[in-house]
Subunit: 300 residues, 2 copies
């Protein structure tokens, strides 16, 4: 079997595992329709890049795959809740996500807001199983995971990046400011996914740094590619509204650098991510390498 | 000094400590106005009942007061974020809170939503200081605190209760359903405050159960009194819109039971909270006892 074919098989297996864990841990029976809205917001869709990064980083350090599955679900819950809130009328006012009506269109704005709030809390519930759980997690790992996730989700990470994004509408943004925004908005959680995976196993400071550098480069590459796809692909291909950043008058890598330079940057960041792995003695981490390829070569 | 006077002094000292910790940990410099909105949403206001419960429970078990201060800030951040989101137009659409314009009135809906989201994340950041922190917290305590807080905030607790609340508008609600709603919506976080305080020190299973029972009774008493004050006090006294549950056609203890029976229930729950302390050998926990008095005797 070729390396590409076996990577595809690994991705499919992992996606199934993550989907089944999400379905198990996101409650159908939460009261008054909240559970349905939470499940609608997170199940059956998305590329699951963050969970794949957690699991691949866990493999790279021969870590605890059960703990990594919890971390994978937790990062995806944070990502999914941010989309639910981001799509609301007071933010991006988007009606289409992953090819389906957005959560607030389907369940109303109040339930969408609460579902997002409950998804964020659930991420931390999933990271803190009690000792009676079939697969308990050491307290130290629980604490490390909560720390990484909270900082990636909050004001220094995702929420901070979204605030800059909001404030930048219609304003010219220098390249370094754009970069800072995206490091927070998208990069922080992608990098945290890698670091949470790395936390599940033994990891020297040098290896941890290499994985951190890999995550940072890949996180930014992801966003540059996102900005490129926003202007080069159709809504049907993306499963969400294409051209929306342009329509919203938001600065992107394409508007700030032009399409050609944005493509060059994506390639440079891709190379940087691979170099970090090689320099960190992580040449064996094939899945992390192929995930970096996937991020820059994707068409949606 | 009388017991009431020394309690007042304790409350004032604790409020000052909590306020100063909130001011230290809620960042003024979070990007694009997010920090200002977060601070506006949580500083300079509120009764701080949850922080007081954390600190009093910590004292009752001779626990670690530094850890309790972190827990106090974390529960208040969760409470404050829920108010920020709850006041938004898609929820209660309220313009007045703690005597000031609500966060979305002051900063716009998008920033209010993000500020709430970032406040929830910050609660878990505060609970997971790193080892270089001046007052490090054992990993086990960090994990226990995150677990308690996440479950109290999420679908089984506060967010779940709010979903029931939303779904109950204009509907008759039986007393037990009303009780279930309020146990989740308000009770869970109040009870978690007590349990987080208890986690900071040595605590036998019996003592922990007594504190849990105390927290449950006090949590429900708080909400019954809230429902009473909503119809008996003015907006000026409450610092928020009075009569709003009635106007919103929401079931409350007063609409379901009548004012007299609601008052009898508040008194019964008060007695239950005090009995739990006495039965649990926590007769020395004067501040917990006086906090229970404060909850039922308050006028705003």
């Amino acid at each position: 079997m070729s390396s590409a074919a076996s990577f595809d098989t690994w991705v499919q297996d992992e996606l199934q595992r993550v989907e089944s864990a999400l379905s198990r841990w996101v409650p159908a029976d939460a009261p008054a329709g909240l559970g349905q809205a939470m499940r609608y917001g997170v199940l059956d869709g998305g590329k699951r890049l963050r969970p794949l990064l957690v699991r691949a980083a866990c493999e790279a350090v021969a870590g605890d795959l059960h703990a990594a599955l919890r971390a994978a679900v937790a990062v995806e819950l944070i990502h999914a809740y941010s989309l639910v809130h981001d799509d609301m009328p007071c933010m991006d006012n988007d009606v289409l996500r992953r090819g389906k009506p957005t959560v607030h269109v389907q369940y109303g704005e109040a339930v969408a807001m609460l579902a997002g709030d409950a998804m964020q809390a659930l991420a931390f519930e999933v990271l803190t199983p009690d000792d009676n759980d079939a697969e308990p997690m050491p307290a130290l790992l629980q604490a490390q995971m909560c720390s990484l996730l909270a900082r990636a989700a909050g004001h220094t990470g995702m929420a901070g990046g979204q605030a800059i994004d909001l404030a930048s509408i219609g304003k010219p943004l220098a390249e370094d400011a754009l970069c800072d925004m995206h490091r927070r908005k998208t990069g922080a959680l992608l990098q945290a996914s890698v670091l949470m995976g790395a936390a599940t196993g033994p990891c020297s400071p040098a290896t941890r740094q290499a994985l951190s550098d890999y995550g940072a480069a890949l996180g930014l590459a992801f966003q540059v590619v996102d900005d490129i796809l926003d202007v080069t692909q159709s809504s049907a291909t993306l499963g969400k509204s294409a051209g929306k950043d342009l329509d919203a008058n938001k600065p992107t890598y394409v508007t700030v650098l032009g399409l050609d330079e944005a493509r060059r940057q994506a390639a440079a960041l891709h190379a940087q991510a691979l170099l970090a792995l090689a320099d960190g003695g992580l040449g064996h981490a094939v899945h992390l390498r192929l995930l970096a390829d996937m991020v820059v070569e994707r068409e949606s």
